[in-house]
Symmetry: C2
Subunit: 150 residues, 2 copies
């Protein structure tokens, strides 16, 4: 049982899990009055972290910056977010959640957490899982044959 088979199987399971999670999210979008791209944006907008420039958000979402611009407008139109000028750099805008935005984001996260397959794992298991994921995510991302994007 070669090592690459193990890797392939692990990868496949993670992808399956991810698909399941996005499925759960999609099923909850209507009751939150969100679209999928808006929900994805909301997801990475941690109210407790320092606000991020739109450019950083684009990197995180693996999409074009212009796309984030358009999504930001939608978030503002819904009263969930607000673009703020960066205090030090006049070119930069950061995206901040409004009170209502924080509320909806919490609902979104709670909903997905409650219905995701991960919910069946106990606290101890989740912590072991976290340990492994942390290790993987912290890795210095050495991409073979590619300039370091991301």
């Amino acid at each position: 049982m070669p090592s690459s088979d193990i890797a392939a199987r692990t990868l496949d399971q993670v992808v399956q899990l991810a698909a399941s999670i996005t499925g759960v999210m999609r099923d909850g979008l209507e009751e939150l009055d969100l679209t999928e791209p808006l929900a994805n944006l909301l997801w990475i907008l941690d109210p407790e972290a320092p606000p991020l420039p739109l450019r950083k958000l684009a990197l995180r979402l693996h999409c074009d910056p212009s796309n984030v611009s358009q999504l930001s407008v939608q978030l503002e139109d819904k009263g969930l977010g607000q673009r703020r000028p960066h205090p030090e750099d006049g070119r930069v805008r950061t995206l901040v959640l409004t009170e209502r935005g924080i509320e909806v984001r919490t609902q979104l996260l709670d909903l997905v957490a409650a219905r995701s397959p991960l919910a069946v794992l106990g606290d101890a298991e989740q912590e072991r899982l976290q340990a492994m994921l942390t290790k993987a995510l912290a890795a210095p991302r050495r991409l073979p044959r590619l300039p370091s994007a991301d």
Copy 2:
């Protein structure tokens, strides 16, 4: 440290990992001459498993069956797949990979496996990871407040 925080953090890490994996995949699409939706379809087309009806593929991809129809046409145009009538049910069509399709799929999987963050985990760790993921994915999916779709 309430249990829901642990769950939220685990979930966030899985989502981050998934984003990273799709990012890796996207970066490799050009060199494989694939689009993202085609790659996703290719991914779930295991040549060793019995061929699946288009409808099942749509369920797996969380999308409309008509979408799978269109993607199947693209796969055929590229010479990577072929739709076959179901031997017993005249309405059903299954999608099978061609020789070249299997080849490209292998390249895709290998590429993602090599560059994914999971690559930094050792075999033993991956097996422990698999154990947990298997448990989660096998769970009978009790969706709160929703008829059992999926």
